[in-house]
Point group: D3
Chain length 135, copies 6
Amino acid sequence: MSTVSLPDDPEADPRVKQVFDDIRATRGSEFINLLWKYLAFDPPLLKQVWDDVKSVMAEPSALDSKTKEMIYVAVSIANSCSYCVHSHTAAARAKGMSDAEHADLLRVVSTASKTNALLNGLQVPVDPQFNRETG
Amino acid sequence: MSTVSLPDDPEADPRVKQVFDDIRATRGSEFINLLWKYLAFDPPLLKQVWDDVKSVMAEPSALDSKTKEMIYVAVSIANSCSYCVHSHTAAARAKGMSDAEHADLLRVVSTASKTNALLNGLQVPVDPQFNRETG
Amino acid sequence: MSTVSLPDDPEADPRVKQVFDDIRATRGSEFINLLWKYLAFDPPLLKQVWDDVKSVMAEPSALDSKTKEMIYVAVSIANSCSYCVHSHTAAARAKGMSDAEHADLLRVVSTASKTNALLNGLQVPVDPQFNRETG
Amino acid sequence: MSTVSLPDDPEADPRVKQVFDDIRATRGSEFINLLWKYLAFDPPLLKQVWDDVKSVMAEPSALDSKTKEMIYVAVSIANSCSYCVHSHTAAARAKGMSDAEHADLLRVVSTASKTNALLNGLQVPVDPQFNRETG
Amino acid sequence: MSTVSLPDDPEADPRVKQVFDDIRATRGSEFINLLWKYLAFDPPLLKQVWDDVKSVMAEPSALDSKTKEMIYVAVSIANSCSYCVHSHTAAARAKGMSDAEHADLLRVVSTASKTNALLNGLQVPVDPQFNRETG
Amino acid sequence: MSTVSLPDDPEADPRVKQVFDDIRATRGSEFINLLWKYLAFDPPLLKQVWDDVKSVMAEPSALDSKTKEMIYVAVSIANSCSYCVHSHTAAARAKGMSDAEHADLLRVVSTASKTNALLNGLQVPVDPQFNRETG
């Protein structure tokens, strides 16, 4: 149950078809996950989001793909986005994340959340040594 | 300005001194950042938090130290913990994170936050293909 | 599956009936959504929450009803409240939000979430020009 | 630096004076903290917020005042509201929270945040035994 | 549908059996809720999380068990962790939380969330009187 | 104190100058706020973020500019981004938001946060009537 209607035949709109074709080509797979199908309710939004995600996640950059997917999972956990946790955990596995790495990711995310709460409770001033410009 | 009092001479308490000594030995540095000094207001809590952070971040595990610090930064950003963002960005740099990797980290975290919001707004059902047990 | 029990016949309690009657009169509809039915487990809390929501959302104020419902959706997305996203998206539509406005709302919410994360990661100081009192 | 202007003489407005008098009478203190002074930029909002906080926090209810203030601190930590953490930690102390109780509060809040993240990462289905209606 | 596989016979691993036995002994109940069963996918993580939760929640400390469970619920609500809200509401009831206390808890959590948002919107400076060290 | 270094002369880099010129032209103002100056540490990230914000906020769309800025403020409050609350409240005022509309915005955001928490605590099932496809 979504807040928008899933289009009956999203690729009937050539703007949607173009994005879906690019998703398939970029991923080397016929599978289009539901996010993109629902986003087809507004083709310009679909295109803008896909272009953003593609440029950040699919193009070569300083970090490797597996690390980027694991960071994506970490953020999705903290933002409590169930769909995103599922889809990016699957993506991280597809990029090679092992069970041990998944457990380690969860260990870091949960411990970070613990100390985040502790610091927000303590309201400790930031050490001047952390200053990038002078520290 | 913290919600607890910074102890005048925290290492006068041997329980605190033991933790501080372990922090110094583990990090190979004399620097004790303010989090630990303020946490000394309750030595058992100080010890419990340090033991947890040390076991997750300082002991060898499936992920390397730099990646773990970057994931820590990602979570701290999402949880809006200013101190944690500063301290773990500094730690990630100390573990070798370059400016380009830092920019890439921010790129992934901000784009993940964008799609997290989008999915929370769309309430798209999770694809059965993401099911770890059957997918 | 809720954390409280749905009362069998909530309107048997006159305090509940009074609130439900006011909900029906205010909205001009017989439909009482489940939030209010579950809240009937504690009639004073039911009344306090309804009075608050009614005064903010149903009474004339500086902003029009459609805009207020869209802001409500934006907050509910950021707080990851699935029920609230569903109920207030439906309310915004009932107040006239078009598909194009819904897409625009999602576009603003997701881009705001992106730059929120970026700024929390960068920890940029606030420009003095934004100071309402001197800027 | 606030997003609204602090009124020069807020109590010149009788609607503000009435609320401030009630704050002083309810608390038995002349001290009006800055939240209320800034909120005086919009007297109806000031009154609505004070009435809500007063009815929840100052009137006798199932939970005692100290416990309610500690719960308030816990929520404020999780929502990363610096002002609220400071003001309600001070309020909890004024209601009798000891240093040991403060440390215990921080211990529970930080461990809860840890397992919250873990569960959001694992996406474990809810046990039917937790069902209030059938469990 | 979880992001990890539920082990077929988790207690076949003696590290898991040891933790499960401790859960049963600590709680005086045969019931092992699903969190722990899923966590068995990584026995060291299972043990670390259980040890942390046990030391904070099951051992005597400054706050009583019911209060600690209610604080846990408050944090879980703010972090939008559905599983945690269910499991710790059930735990708080098991420790004696009445319906009236549950309603009061929800009243405090929701009003705190309201003023948290208000303060984050107003960006009011913190009163110097709240300073623990000088105030 | 930021986590990145403010470049000494950011416009010495032609990629930065091009973006800054576009910011000035789009806004009809010489003022470049600090976010963009700090983002100049990584010109591609600067360009990607500006292009996204410009397309969403500065180009004509279904919603008017003032409404979009108010929605931006609402999200920034919920995500506890202090810089964003300041900059987008100033932007909303520049687009015509009155004091009364600002108060109304804060009223809606804070009441939404209250019911978001309440629903996350109650875990009420979503009414089938909210289903966009069948409701």
